[in-house]
């Protein structure tokens, strides 16, 4: 038997630092969003990312290096537990899969894992349109599907992930009323559908959990399944969120918390270890 005694310790290197690190003074909103998303992933979760998913990819790697060393990351639904040099220019190309433990074949294997309710519990969704019940749209803008005003890329894996029991985490770096809308023009990712029990009545487990934007974090009120403010990013007001949203966001009674500020250690990891080329800023049009 040739197991190295250091193998188990390796993934949690630096674990001591992250708990005691003070809040950063110079964090930016991309880092705040990444930290907020990272907190959603805990030891034992399995997570994968799709195309152009710089914020989720950075968040997975941050979680692996801090509170969730036993998170299982299936990079681009292809490379298991890879060791990329840094976040590359594509989140669905070979540089991300460096030193993978396994290559997962899509037709034969990936969907075996994904469709099985026990594996790949959480999925991060980037949708062109997202509505108050957490339904996503990457298909078409306009009233008639076959006469679209705007043809979007297409549902890809979202049309599956929304329906097969996953917990959905939406992220959007550009919170605006055309992106976060009252009703999507077309449902290409099933959220809470018409709200209330409608999703469960169809036998669908899972569903939208959180929405993380450049302004705030939102969840869904458990009875109506209506989008609800959970925390404001520092410096953002309820009014700013409301003005940027295409419907009236629910606001819980009492004080609204602030989204946790990244620590110095987290900022260091994101900027200098995980994504030194700043690929995450591409999501902000930079």
């Amino acid at each position: 038997m040739s197991v190295s005694p250091t193998a188990a310790a390796a993934p949690s290197a630096g674990a001591a630092d992250w708990r005691s690190s003070p809040p950063a003074n110079d964090y930016t909103v991309d880092e705040l969003m990444i930290v907020a998303l990272s907190e959603c992933f805990v030891d034992g979760d399995q997570a994968c990312n799709g195309m152009a998913s710089f914020i989720p990819v950075t968040a997975f790697q941050l979680a692996l290096r801090t509170h969730a060393p036993d998170l299982v990351w299936l990079a681009g639904a292809v490379g298991l537990d890879p060791q990329p040099d840094r976040v590359p220019a594509s989140t669905l190309e070979a540089p991300l899969w460096r030193n993978s433990v396994m290559y997962v074949e899509q037709y034969g294997d990936f969907w075996n894992f994904a469709l099985n309710g026990r594996w790949l519990q959480k999925f991060c969704v980037g949708a062109a349109q997202l509505d108050k019940f957490g339904n996503g749209n990457n298909s078409v803008i306009g009233a008639e599907y076959h006469k679209p005003r705007v043809r979007l890329p297409g549902t890809a894996g979202l049309g599956d992930m929304g329906s097969i029991g996953k917990q959905l985490y939406y992220w959007n770096p550009n919170h605006n009323p055309r992106a976060i809308v009252d009703r999507v023009d077309f449902v290409s990712c099933a959220g809470w559908l018409g709200g209330g029990d409608e999703r469960r009545a169809l036998g669908l487990a899972g569903g939208p959990e959180l929405v993380i934007t450049n302004l705030c974090v939102m969840d869904f009120e458990p009875t109506s399944r209506h989008m609800r403010l959970k925390s404001l990013h520092p410096g953002i007001s309820i009014e700013q969120v409301q003005a940027a949203t295409g419907f009236e966001v629910l606001v819980p009674d009492g004080a609204i918390g602030l989204t946790r500020v990244p620590t110095e250690h987290e900022v260091h990891l994101i900027r200098h270890v995980i994504d030194p080329d700043g690929m995450r800023l591409r999501e902000f049009g930079k």
């Binding site: 197991v3 190295s4 188990a8 299982v72 298991l80 433990v101 396994m102």
Partner: protein
């Protein structure tokens, strides 16, 4: 993904309970997880259901030891060594009930189990007598107006038992480039729990050299055990061939109740561990001959 799954065979096999449905990798004389199966017998598990594509000597030993009361599979045969006689007698005595499926129907049942679908269809079996006697198969019209199909109900085994060439302590499983039988392709993905024996436990960095050879991710595996020569007396290509002498000794013993009991005590329940087992079946020189595929007559 540092959750350690490495354990002892005795500890691993406590994941199997009396009455469980146990999917067992095997093809006639190939690739059976024999070290795990022997431990099942040693621990005296009862009322098991076995799932196999084409089961051979592991099914016959489990039947001989009284561990099985049902079987779901396409065939039971040791090919050149003939039918499994203890299994056959137990079926004829109605001690084991058989759900006999064609290969596509078994794959469909397991495939539906893996993918959390209520059923998958096949066009195999149509016209045979195997559909009417099986509650897990039903003819279904094509909603698009084409030919009907046989809907095969999802099967989720409680446990899958797999043998592999190498694994790491986290349960990531690798195979050498070789023929991959359906058991490996779908059984562990359908089962609720997965127990793996490996010829060798290696550092994860060894697996990273050939990620295309990894066939099961650690997150699907519940326990992994190191058992060198763990498929003996079946073959494990390319490492070693099947043991002709051992198969012949079994087919001779299986003709007689007393000889069967002596055989099982000597080779299955008697040896305290894999080292003792290997000593009793011929030790290092015999294993070396098997590695040269010399015992294939």
């Amino acid at each position: 993904m540092a959750q350690v799954k490495l354990t002892s065979v005795a500890e691993a096999m406590t994941l199997v309970g009396d009455g469980d449905v146990v999917a067992i990798q095997n093809m006639a004389t190939q690739a059976a997880p024999m070290g795990l199966v022997r431990e099942l017998i040693r621990q005296g598990r009862r009322d098991l259901g076995a799932v196999c594509l084409v089961g051979g000597i592991p099914i016959d030993w489990l039947a001989a030891a009284g561990c099985l009361n049902r079987l779901i599979g396409a065939a039971v045969s040791m090919e050149q060594f003939g039918l499994c006689q203890r299994y056959r007698k137990a079926v004829e005595a109605q001690q084991i009930r058989v759900e006999e499926l064609s290969e596509t129907a078994l794959n469909a049942r397991l495939g539906a189990g893996a993918r959390n679908l209520p059923f998958l269809p096949t066009r195999g079996l149509i016209g045979t007598d195997l559909i009417a006697i099986n509650d897990n198969l039903v003819m279904l019209d094509d909603p698009f107006g084409g030919l009907p199909v046989v809907a095969c109900r999802a099967l989720v085994p409680d446990v899958a038992l797999i043998h592999c060439h190498r694994a790491d302590r986290y349960g990531n499983v690798q195979y050498e480039p070789t023929a991959l039988w359906p058991d490996l392709g779908i059984m562990p993905k359908a089962a609720t729990r997965v127990i793996v024996s490996a010829e060798e436990i290696v550092h994860t960095d060894v697996l990273r050299r050939n990620p295309d050879r990894t066939v099961l991710p650690g997150f699907m595996v519940d326990a992994v055990v190191e058992i060198p020569w763990g498929a003996h007396p079946t073959s494990f290509n390319p490492n070693y061939g099947y043991d002709t002498g051992m198969h012949l000794a079994w087919t001779k013993a299986a003709r007689d109740d007393d000889a069967t009991a002596v055989f099982l005590e000597r080779y299955v329940t008697g040896p305290a561990n894999q080292v003792e087992y290997l000593d009793r079946v011929g030790g290092a020189s015999r294993m070396a001959a098997l590695a040269r595929w010399e015992i294939t007559a």
